[in-house]
Subunit: 261 residues, 2 copies
Amino acid sequence: MTFHDLHHGELPLLLPNAWDVASALAFVEAGFPAVGTTSLGVAASAGHPDGGRATAEANQVLAGRLATLPRPVSFDVEDGYSDDPEQVAVYVAGIAAAGPAIAGVNIEDSTAGHLVDPRAHAAKVAAVKHAVPGLFVNSRVDTYWLGQDATVPATLERAGAAVAAGADGIFVPGATDPDDLRVLTSAIPVPVNVLPVPGLSLAELGRLGVRRVSTGSLPYRAALEAAVTVATAVRDGTAVPPAVPYARVQELLVGYADARD
Amino acid sequence: MTFHDLHHGELPLLLPNAWDVASALAFVEAGFPAVGTTSLGVAASAGHPDGGRATAEANQVLAGRLATLPRPVSFDVEDGYSDDPEQVAVYVAGIAAAGPAIAGVNIEDSTAGHLVDPRAHAAKVAAVKHAVPGLFVNSRVDTYWLGQDATVPATLERAGAAVAAGADGIFVPGATDPDDLRVLTSAIPVPVNVLPVPGLSLAELGRLGVRRVSTGSLPYRAALEAAVTVATAVRDGTAVPPAVPYARVQELLVGYADARD
């Protein structure tokens, strides 16, 4: 089943977001049919704040490392790291060329916390689709995420420009109101992606028309929380939270290295 | 208080092991006075099994990124990535030169799962101490860890050779028997480091003479576990485990970037 096909299953595609190879392998082992990346996780690993175009190089390295993952991977490439559509297309083509696992990208329509002109963003989407037609381009509309023009009409206008430019999916992080979601998914002709909505199950989001739910940075932030909790528990003698056994991590890594070499 | 001084507190030094910048920052924020690295975590992040000399380059990158951490950092450099003591010294000097936070290294006396000749290992320790006299060199004795010559006399012989070569501390991962620990810490004239021992508190390990307890790969493995658990919980609609808030991670990263630039 292709990455595109996974957006048309019975339930929305739940896409867990990895920050490195072992987290991606752990998601695959847990049965997730595809894996995303998290720009916060990738930026934080390298010591940079999220959203500042700091992950361009780290994503290239990560794409090389995930190139042979046995499940499709979608990369979060922030805003494509450039205002120039051709530069964005060259960058994304490089990510896609890293290997057969790379099946999609997320490109956001904001730069440094501000919405960009919808036509400028659509030009990036068009350039990427022209350069790598088979790649699933998930175009992010940051109206709700940034609290700027956070209305259904403004979001639909931006989504429409991206779809006209060839976007395969529309991601609206921060959209949570069921009525908004119903209108957005009805009006947008490609799969709509949201972040998890507290209180709404995957099935309920599916009934509202959502086709994909990304965990975003949540797994990385839960990972940080667990790391501190376990170290504190060892220090204070309290109950130590669960951890994947050392031998199991090694087994995953040896298996991946063997399949790659 | 210097990193050396931290080995002489009332309780053993609890050293949590980071795999990237954000995990190191989270440990600092949680009040730990120093931070280690985990070779499993660093290797796994890059998609390599642990213990195969695969982390040399990744550690150089990480040392650059942690160079300005406001707490001392001790790097796990496996076996120094070479059989040649001078090569090991050049490598470690490069790690130490990355920045003021780099205060120590762990060097293990096994290569690819096998103990090396104690004299060969001691020569590495001596070369490193000659090149970087102020660095805290924690010499790992892998007898218990590998289950090879896992006896007190064999361990003491190896520890003695490393101490004679200038080691500032001795790390015996896998040693858990209280009687063994009492004999080891009495006979070894420098601070002795162990992994957490289930059932023994930090204070109890301190009373057995232990001066440092490293969490090893446990935080990274707990992080992987939490990442999978949280993604599965979102998919299945079960209770979502705690996570550091997005804004808090960003705040840590912005603060670190501001202090660095």
